[in-house]
């Protein structure tokens, strides 16, 4: 009854091609942005912003980047952590080695470095696909693990690969407090989400999806597989690299290579799969799920009234995590985004059954 599209006729192609063609969706998004930009900073505790919302935003961004590569273009990547690391360490180098380098410039340049590495390790995708490509991307992961640990120049001669940043600011405005960090990340994420959404609904997005769905037919239409695959790697790595810079600079403040290990890569891939491959919104859903699940599992014993040792708790968490992954893949392989759109379709008919 509320979600009807009755009366919402589009009289131009431009209107039909908006990101949110249904008026109720536009209102919902506007409300969401209002809550995110205004209500949260005012009403939510520092702890929540620092420990939950900010990491959620940054990981959503990384998941978004990964989704472009895996979900839209169909190229498996298990090396996302590596590209985050490149983004973080490159941004770090620009930040400390060049006096007065603006934060945003460092981050964007970090992203560009990640792009270069991403394209390099994307070259195998021109010859191999599927699991073989996954193994190739693992090479990227392990190589960068080693590079940032052992090659002193990358870490400004820190012996263990750990670095730190301080005194961040944008155009004079400090990025120190929880609120400031949150808003900064929010702005970055919203901007990138918009750009990404534009890309996936344009010609390049269709090229990516064509490569994913049937690459032989794509060639016959005149799509260049090389261009499509490498641009997917490039755009994806750029976004992931910027996310990595955000993770290091804003969320962690000080980090070492282990922050971007293979566990991170798996985590991001889980986000994308559970959230929904080939869906911008799905990346956010997946990130929320993965970020909130451990918290939920942590609190559950307390709610249920018994306590268990921390070791046991963490084992149970791992167990339940794994089981939920499998459960999800069985029940809704297209992820939360599909569940969401199914729910919306039912909502369109509500209160009628069909």
């Amino acid at each position: 009854m509320f979600y009807r599209e009755n009366g919402q006729f589009k009289s131009s192609y431009r209107a039909d091609q908006q990101i949110f063609p249904i008026a109720q969706d536009r209102i919902a998004i506007a409300l969401l942005l209002l809550v995110a930009f205004v209500v949260v900073p005012l009403g939510v505790s520092d702890y929540w912003m620092r420990a939950i919302l900010t990491p959620f935003l940054i990981l959503s961004l990384a998941a978004l980047g990964l989704n472009i590569l895996v979900g839209y273009c169909g190229q498996i990547s298990l090396g996302t952590g590596a590209f985050m690391a490149v983004g973080a360490y490159a941004a770090y180098n620009f930040h400390v080695r060049i006096d007065g380098m603006p934060l945003i410039a460092s981050m964007l340049l970090g992203g560009l470095c990640a792009t270069l590495i991403g394209v390099l390790f994307g070259i195998p995708s021109l010859r191999i696909k599927g699991l073989y490509l996954a193994v190739a991307t693992l090479a990227a992961q392990f190589f960068t693990d080693w590079a940032f640990l052992r090659i002193q120049w990358f870490t400004n001669n820190s012996s263990s690969g750990s670095v730190s940043v301080a005194g961040l600011n944008v155009l004079g405005m400090p990025i120190e407090s929880a609120v400031q960090k949150y808003i900064f990340c929010l702005v970055v994420v919203v901007v990138f989400a918009l750009l990404a959404k534009n890309l996936v609904r344009s010609a390049i997005g269709r090229e990516w999806m064509a490569m994913r769905d049937m690459d032989v037919a794509a060639a016959v239409i005149g799509i260049r597989p090389v261009y499509a695959k490498l641009t997917a790697f490039a755009v994806s790595s750029f976004i992931v690299g910027v996310a990595g810079a955000l993770w290091g600079f804003i969320h962690l403040g000080a980090w070492e290579p282990a922050a971007f290990s293979i566990d991170r890569s798996f985590q991001l891939l889980f986000m994308v799969i559970i959230g929904g491959l080939g869906s911008i919104m799905g990346s956010f859903f997946g990130a929320a799920f993965i970020v909130l699940l451990p918290l939920f599992l942590n609190q559950l014993p307390a709610w249920l009234g018994f306590s268990i040792s921390t070791a046991l708790a963490s084992h149970l968490e791992t167990m339940i995590f794994g089981a939920l992954i499998v459960f999800f893949l069985i029940v809704e392989p297209h992820g939360l985004a599909r569940l969401w759109s199914t729910a919306k379709e039912k909502l369109r008919l509500w209160p009628f059954p069909h």
């Binding site: 431009r14 091609q17 269709r206 064509a210 037919a217 794509a218 060639a219 239409i221 755009v235």
Partner: protein, 260 residues
């Protein structure tokens, strides 16, 4: 409306194609004239799809050459062929199952879209206008093929007959000069075949598109084609107008068998 059949636009010379030890095509030569409807027929396994795949650059023949508009090639390159104005449909429907009908047909316009990635990301002025212009063109194709109601549906969910139309639509979106159709009527009932024949003839009549058509339905072939090539076991056994081919002894033997 009368079509004037023009000069030879596509010339296939002595094509031999093998896979490992199996010869799919042996020394095939024929030509196609501009604006005509040329059918390729033959029993199953005759190599018809392989022939189209050679013209399209999907397979590279071991011997022979293909001349298109005066330029001769030892083998074709898919993208080059597409740029030169050759489009095709597939026997097993190579549609992008995850995309909507609209997006599938829009993907056929990709060759004509010029905006760079940054422009697309920002979606400002020229990029948006280009997208809208191509959308208008594609909508004309959607109208022509009468699939307006399905434009936002993911093609994987459509019935087979409609999917075939989307396949044709995507090929048409490329504004091709030569259209290669691989069994466009396979699996269709009589009404659907009539619709599809109408579409094919309209495209040939109104747009002057040259059609190279693989088809197993003899009635359709005899009705709509100007000339016919007959293949059997990778060899050419007949070439001429439908009437000539219909009365060719070899062709009859291939289809009906020989009395012993």
């Amino acid at each position: 409306m009368t079509r004037k059949i023009g000069d030879v636009i596509l010339d296939v010379q002595n094509i031999t194609l093998s896979f490992g030890g199996v010869k799919a095509l042996t020394d095939i030569s024929f030509n196609v004239r501009e604006h005509e409807v040329r059918a390729i027929i033959g029993p199953n396994g005759a190599g018809k799809s392989s022939m189209l795949n050679c013209i399209n650059g999907v397979y590279w023949p071991q011997q022979g050459s293909i001349t298109f508009r005066g330029q001769t090639f030892k083998h074709m390159n898919s993208r080059q062929v597409a740029e030169m104005g050759v489009a095709r449909t597939f026997q097993n429907l190579a549609l992008f199952k995850g995309m909507s009908v609209l997006d599938n047909i829009m993907s056929g316009r990709n060759l004509k879209m010029k905006s760079g990635i940054l422009a697309q990301a920002l979606r400002w002025g020229p990029a948006e206008r280009e997208e809208l212009a191509h959308r208008e063109f594609v909508e004309q194709i959607i109208d022509f093929l009468e699939i307006q109601a399905y434009r936002k549906t993911p093609v994987g969910r459509l019935p087979y007959g409609l999917q075939k139309r989307v396949d044709l639509g995507r090929a048409l979106a490329m504004e091709p000069q030569v259209l290669l159709l691989d069994e466009p009527m396979a699996g269709m009932n009589v009404e659907e075949k009539q619709d599809m024949s109408r579409f094919v003839l309209d495209v040939n009549d109104e747009l002057g598109t040259t059609i190279v058509l693989i088809e197993n339905d003899m009635g359709v072939v005899m009705d709509i084609s100007d000339r016919v090539v007959v293949l059997e076991y990778g060899k050419k056994i007949g070439d001429g107008t439908p009437d000539e081919v219909r009365n060719n002894d070899d062709v009859i033997a291939a289809y009906l068998g020989v009395e012993h």
